[in-house]
């Protein structure tokens, strides 16, 4: 179907179903239960899941396939956000032109940065991209924000003001980003028993786009172009002596992944019409590296899983404070309760990154292929066990 292998079609369909049903799946706990803390089905977070999923899918096309590790991809994310907000300011709050410009500007930007950075490989490439991203951050944070020429609005961040032109804005349209009139904030809440499920327009808009770009990524993986990118990672020298010019291949991969990042940046602005320089900082670039490696670099679904994993941690674990912990362990004797809270305290709330770091280390050490490899190993274990059972059930001698 759709020109995909049956395995990939299945994957796409499963991902599509999961994203469609995400408001249910991510809200498994009743509203006022103690575990409601772990619910992730609110619009804000679900949007971030899919947006960072897009970012990571794109990053994986570069890093997962070619092995070129960019430490500057947040620059394209930031550029995408600025481009989108400028479209809101100049044209209207319609997200379509905004996102189109995000992708185009990020594409142009990545041609420039990629063309120069790809003259080197390995660590030098990574450092070059990092340097470019930090320069972009500096530009956005201060240089391009002065009274005479204010492109980024510096520290405050770029946003839409009442006196902006918005030449296509009409009275009937929402005063927030919208898709031809459908506000990205509009949410339908379904209450069933103790549960409440949010169906948010912005989330479904992002999810639909993610499915499209995920499909494109699968096509790229299975294309001759994708094969060449994997060959770059495997043995660039052999590729050169086989008559292939590796530079345009890597540049194309760089630009495609830059455009994915720009798209993600545009969508961030479309969900919340604000663009700040911190989105370009090196920590943001590092985050997408973590997502990709955590999920499984070079695999199709890995980056999406990694993005979801990290965003979940960032938003859920960071909200567990001592009050919540005390409530959980209230049934225990006071001394034990306090001791447990004291032990767990450093790993939650503001310390969520500590937990994330530990998990990241564990995964890199024990599962170098990321979450996907973990899943595969579980699957293999399961299959072996079930085949053992059938074998013993039929009382056949072992081979």
């Amino acid at each position: 179907m759709l020109g995909l292998k049956s395995k990939d079609t299945t994957l796409l369909v499963v991902v599509a179903i999961l994203t469609l049903l995400a408001p249910f799946i991510l809200n498994p706990f009743p509203e006022n239960s103690a575990l409601a803390q772990f619910n992730a089905g609110y619009p804000d977070l679900m949007q971030r899941f899919v947006i960072y999923g897009i970012f990571a899918i794109g990053f994986n096309i570069l890093f997962g396939l070619t092995g070129y590790l960019s430490f500057g991809h947040a620059a394209f994310l930031g550029v995408g956000s600025y481009a989108a907000v400028w479209m809101f300011k100049l044209l209207s709050y319609n997200v379509v032109p905004a996102i189109m410009l995000s992708v185009i500007v990020a594409g142009i930007f990545s041609v420039l940065i990629g063309y120069i950075s790809l003259r080197r490989s390995g660590i030098y490439f990574s450092i070059l991209t990092l340097a470019f991203a930090q320069m972009s951050f500096a530009l956005a944070y201060s240089v391009l924000s002065n009274p005479k020429f204010n492109l980024t609005n510096g520290e405050t961040g770029l946003q839409v003001y009442a006196d902006d032109p918005q030449i296509f804005h009409r009275a009937g349209l929402p005063d927030l980003p919208h898709f031809f009139g459908l506000s990205m904030r509009s949410t339908y809440t379904l209450d069933v028993g103790g549960w409440s499920f949010d169906f948010n327009a912005g989330y479904y808009f992002c999810a639909a786009i993610m499915l499209v770009v995920f499909y494109l990524a699968i096509r790229i993986f299975n294309s001759p172009f994708g094969l060449m990118l994997r060959a770059v990672k495997s043995n660039q020298q052999r590729l050169n002596y086989t008559g292939l010019n590796t530079r345009p291949y890597t540049l194309a991969a760089f630009v495609i992944s830059g455009m994915y990042a720009g798209l993600a940046g545009g969508l961030l602005a479309a969900m919340d019409p604000l663009a700040g320089a911190e989105r370009m900082q090196w920590t943001a670039s590092g985050e997408v590296v973590l997502m990709t490696i955590l999920g499984g670099a070079g695999t199709l679904i890995g980056p999406v899983l990694g993005a979801g994993f990290i965003k979940y941690f960032e938003n859920i674990f960071s909200k567990i404070n001592d009050g919540v912990l005390h409530a959980w362990f209230a049934f225990l004797p006071d001394g034990l309760e306090n001791a447990l809270v004291a032990i767990i305290h450093p790993f939650v709330g503001k310390g969520w990154q500590l937990t994330l770091g530990l998990m990241f280390m564990a995964i890199v050490i024990f599962l170098p292929g990321g979450l996907v490899e973990g899943g595969k190993r579980l699957g293999a274990l399961f299959r072996r066990r079930s085949s053992d059972e059938t074998a013993s059930g039929e009382t056949k001698p072992a081979e």
Partner: protein, 253 residues
């Protein structure tokens, strides 16, 4: 005029004169062996032909055009393919994918942005790739990881990758090193068969004299970076200078 004309090529690594004023002419459609003791500069000479090294002096003409100043992929597209001394293959890819890549390079040139077509649907390319695997007797290993092949198989795979490009000039740097006797003989037969089927020039570096004398129509003996003698195999066998070069080297060790 040979298809390959090397004139006055020299190459220096620091204090070491790896090549000194090498002249070599390889006639079209012949198998030309380059032999010589370890460190004679044989691989260095090939490196100067494929754009890996730039010689300090001299010229290298292939098919009437200079190869100097061209990038490796451009030289390959001119019609020179090379099997390296230590196998250079795509270890992370499958054997079939390894041979698909040169098929694409042959059909589409140095760069082609085909990001949405699927590899599987390219029937002509697949057929070629499968045929070459059959030719080198690796048809049942197509789905194996190239890195997991034996040393001899890696070499055969690399040879298949070069042959499938149908180069005008095939450079082989010790193609049978690390192979079992039977595989060596298969390789000799394969190269003979290719040679009989179509026009191809081969330059072969080899320490195994059985291979050299089975294939070569002309032999150049290289010692300490300079060609000592060049002649037909029969004349090389008993040549005093050749004996001296090899024995002299044995003395040094």
């Amino acid at each position: 005029m040979g298809i390959l004309e090397v004139k006055g090529v020299s190459k220096r690594f620091g204090g070491l004169q790896a090549l000194g004023n090498v002249n070599l002419s390889i006639a079209e459609n012949t198998v030309h062996a380059i032999i010589g003791p370890n460190g004679a500069g044989k691989s260095t000479l090939l490196n100067c032909l494929v754009g890996k090294l730039i010689p300090d002096t001299g010229s290298v003409m292939f098919d009437g055009q200079s190869v100097l100043g061209r990038k490796p992929h451009e030289i390959n597209q001119m019609g020179i393919s090379r099997v390296f001394q230590t196998p250079e293959i795509f270890g992370d890819l499958t054997v079939l994918e390894n041979v698909l890549i040169p098929c694409f390079a042959k059909r589409d040139g140095a760069f082609e942005l085909n990001a949405f077509g699927s590899v599987r649907s390219q029937a002509d390319i697949r057929e070629r790739a499968e045929q070459i695997l059959l030719d080198v007797n690796m048809q049942d290993k197509g789905s194996m990881h190239a890195a997991s092949l034996s040393r001899g198989d890696k070499r055969r795979l690399e040879m298949a990758m070069c042959l499938v490009q149908e180069p005008k000039l095939l450079l082989l740097d010790e193609p049978t090193a690390g192979m079992a006797r039977a595989d060596t003989n298969n390789t000799i037969d394969l190269l003979k068969e290719i040679k009989s089927k179509r026009d191809i020039t081969m330059a072969i570096i080899e320490h195994d004299m059985h291979v050299v004398f089975s294939l070569a129509e002309r032999i150049t003996v290289l010692a300490q970076g300079t060609p000592l003698v060049e002649d037909i195999p029969e004349k090389i066998k008993g040549h005093p200078k050749v004996q001296e070069a090899y024995l002299g080297q044995a003395h040094d060790e």
